[in-house]
Symmetry: C2
Subunit: 328 residues, 2 copies
């Protein structure tokens, strides 16, 4: 890519940057660093997630808009799990020369559309050539000081909830190899509708930012984590950080229509929130327009037993973490 095209690309990005939440981003793109300052009484939640061609997406099957959307979803979902309000994203993108034109523009189309919908500005990043396509997206959110929802605050006896449905993204992924680019655009146009297909859930997952903010504001959740790696793996993370065990009731799981129980348990990339609340607290059936379902409960952890068990009509068996492994 010629230097002129690179500058044109940077100008294109700068022109389209969504507005920042007032007062928190004091300096955006264009200097050595961005300058950010939380509002009085708030602190920043910061997270970073890599998306790598051949690992987190496939150039042959994922439209560039979906790759951009998914790359920023991961961090927005991390913010949601803390109850944080998105403020700014930093996007580092490296692509082979042949992707530095239309592909990169469409990647930013998808990323900036979701950023705008979530009132998140783009405050910086990096742009480079690379043998393979890689994006690293950093999200900064703000949360009332000392009140973020942690993974480590679940207590035995509390109820375990999940937002939305499970396994839809994995079911969509299973359809993906057959996906033509034109079909994906049709799917994309339907994504505002209620009847999300599994494919749309995979290509354009919706981070549960409003639901995380609701949980924090209403002071009902004790612990929370987002379901990026899969229920079995993310629940194991939550149990480990809280020093507790858990029992999941298979019959209560909100399995996405068309998805299997295995996809719901281990599929990953649903980007729903998994959270705990005292049994005495009434959780509404719907939080900010998305269903909330009790799927089990937190138990005391007996170090001689598996931390998590799955209860079915027939039996109760250990639930092994079989979700996404960062090295697999």
């Amino acid at each position: 890519m010629a230097r002129n095209s690179e500058l044109a690309l940077i100008r294109m990005i700068r022109r389209r940057v969504p507005a920042a939440p007032r007062g928190q981003v004091r300096l955006g793109i264009g200097d050595d660093c961005a300058l950010l300052r939380p509002r009085a009484g708030e602190e920043f939640a910061i997270t970073t997630d890599l998306s790598i061609a051949g690992r987190h997406f496939w150039l042959a099957t994922h439209p560039p808009e979906s790759i951009g959307h998914r790359a920023i979803t991961r961090g927005l979902s991390d913010l949601a799990a803390m109850g944080a309000r998105p403020v700014a994203a930093f996007v580092s993108l490296a692509v082979p020369q042949e992707l530095s034109g239309e592909w990169t523009t469409r990647f930013y189309d998808g990323l900036l559309e979701l950023a705008k919908a979530q009132k998140t500005t783009l405050a910086g990043g990096d742009l480079s050539e690379s043998p393979i396509a890689v994006a690293d997206v950093v999200l900064v959110g703000s949360v009332p000081a000392g009140r973020a929802l942690l993974r480590s605050a679940a207590k035995p006896g509390q109820a375990l909830y999940v937002t939305g449905t499970l396994g839809g993204s994995a079911a969509g992924l299973a359809q993906l190899p057959e996906l033509a680019d034109s079909e994906s655009k049709a799917v994309r146009q339907r994504r505002g509708a209620d009847n999300f297909t599994a494919l749309a859930l995979h290509l354009y997952p919706q981070p549960r930012v409003a639901q995380g903010l609701w949980l924090l504001r209403n002071r009902v959740a004790t612990a929370a984590i987002d379901l990026s790696d899969g229920l079995s793996t993310d629940l194991a993370h939550l149990c480990e950080e809280s020093g507790v065990g858990a029992e999941v009731d298979a019959e209560l799981l909100p399995v996405h229509p068309g998805a299997t129980l295995q996809q719901a348990l281990h599929g990953g990339e649903d980007y729903e929130l998994l959270f705990t609340a005292p049994e005495s607290v009434r959780i509404p059936k719907s939080i900010a327009g998305v269903p909330a379902t009790q799927i089990g409960r937190i138990l005391r952890h007996n170090p001689n037993q598996p931390a998590i068990s799955l209860k079915t009509a027939q039996s109760t068996k250990p639930l092994e973490p079989k979700g996404w492994q960062h090295f697999a």
Copy 2:
């Protein structure tokens, strides 16, 4: 890499995380996000930089400690250029399976050694498998609110300074293809000494954090940028953001012994600070132990002329930006 080895790696990293500056990192590695809060009257400077195998480093020639050191240097140098004090780093690393053992440990050795020296904690990150080695390192620093050194504050008539020497890293890079791993270790052991070789400057550049803090504290610099892409390119960035021109005097340039004028002008990765100050301000010959040299001055920008010129004994000619191009 088996899941157990991945967890062992994460445990190794968590065990070795340098302490955080007191009070600013309220929650580090282990949850969906880290939680950070600037001290009263301060704001955060945030920057992110990609380092990609075959582009920013070569596995065959750069020791893994150097790759880790260089990956975090880029962000520390960005903080230095704002006059910010490092607080926390977030490290996203993706490597092929065969590098997930000793290589990754040595990468973190190099990265964490510099982090510790610069009192920077590791507050989060991501770890993934990838066809090629990629690191994205985010740095968060703190700076008195409204006082960060910007690229955009240079004014005509001001003097232009640079810390340290120029071209050393490029001269070292030119030696690199002959480098054996054992030799690099010997070089590494010398890096505390005064007589830095060009090779050591390339492998283990020292971000000018103390110098940036000095410039801010003493209120002498007007604008600043770090020399990551090369003097000609970074000076062009500074001039563009400030809407000014500049004249560089070739005879004043502190060319590193053994480096050429071309390497000093366009080489990149010197990680020195380029800054401006009013002519009336006396800049000491040495700032926090590193030389400071006037190399030219800021001029009014005439849109019909090149923004930057290079003055030699013979002539004054346009200085084209020929440093690092993100797509080249």
